[in-house]
Symmetry: C2
Subunit: 210 residues, 2 copies
């Protein structure tokens, strides 16, 4: 029997700050809830966790306020879309030999987060996309070719994950060190198409060689 | 640099009918809600989906009643434990070189199911286990060594999943054809220890050979 050849490019797309604008909504809610408190504008956001930067800048009480906001019911359902994300992801999934999954590392201990993430997918991408949702703490365990994620460092139990990590640019990571990794600066300029084409070519080369 | 060697046995453990007694609770709720309707005793359950067997046996209205029960709020939180499951899984995870994850394919479109699955894990296994939960429709995408699951056939986008599927015996699969797969008949007789030891030995052999 001929050896099985992997012919589909499997792309994992993260949710917060790749599909959904977590930071924008968080800041808006913070400013609306605490109009008299100091805040960190998005242009000054550094580091993955807003809570940590608020703690460091304004004291720990401030970080707790931030955390409470995204633990409130409705927060994840109401996240706005990152510009053109939905259109791009649907187009990517319709490309020949490309299969897209949504891969999110949610707050499992937050009662609203899991359901609201599924709701967001249903609202923005449509019902059949909900079944493409993967909720997992450790993304290194997923066997895929590409992971588009705003977190600059993604580590876990699998020290040699199958995917290549493409860093999706977000306010908090614009100045982050990402080593040799590629960046995707957004969905609007269409550069994601070239990126995916490069990966598809590599997949075809690997298939010929195997 | 020496080649990275995989030294941990990664075991995926399914939820319904492996950790949680879905079928028992479903039947109990059905009989309590419809005391005058005919039902299928667990000894006569065949096929993965109860709904399908009820439809086939009593007509489609019956299958809809079944489905409505497990879509009701509270159903997944209130599932009883499969005997000795929690003790076994904790002991397994404490074994040297073994890492256990809970891997469930939930009803993503059911608003209560995701959160209630996390709640069940927190209630029965404890808070830190919630982060070991993987909610995914297609388990073939996970890179692990063993998958303990009651579903006799597990297929998906990855035609060559990394794991070996061990069929966990449940009422509905006792007579199912499982080909060359191994079975685990339950958590009570302790045979899971021997099974895991066999996989650990195989892992060590592979590490020496690599």
């Amino acid at each position: 029997m001929a050896q099985w050849r992997k012919e589909t490019l499997r792309v994992l797309v993260d949710m917060d700050m790749v599909l959904c604008d977590f930071e924008h909504h968080l800041l808006a809610e913070f400013r609306s809830k605490y109009p008299n408190l100091p805040y960190i504008p998005l242009s000054k956001r550094r580091g993955f966790y807003a809570k940590d930067q608020y703690d460091k800048t304004f004291g720990s009480n401030s970080g707790d306020k931030i955390m409470k906001i995204y633990r409130d019911a409705g927060f994840f359902t109401n996240l706005p879309e990152i510009p053109n994300a939905v259109k791009a992801v649907k187009e990517m999934n319709d490309m020949n030999l490309v299969d897209v999954y949504i891969c999110s590392s949610p707050m499992f201990s937050c009662n609203t987060c899991l359901t609201e993430k599924a709701n967001w997918i249903e609202n923005y991408l449509g019902h059949r996309w909900v079944e493409k949702l993967i909720l997992i703490k450790d993304k290194t365990l997923i066997n895929a070719d590409v992971l588009i994620d705003d977190r600059p460092e993604i580590t876990g139990a699998n020290k040699a994950p199958h995917w290549e990590h493409v860093v999706f640019t977000a306010c908090h990571n614009s100045f982050s060190e990402i080593g040799q990794k590629r960046r995707l600066s957004g969905w609007t300029d269409g550069s994601w198409r070239e990126l995916i084409s490069t990966f598809l070519k590599q997949l075809q080369i690997n298939n010929v060689e195997s």
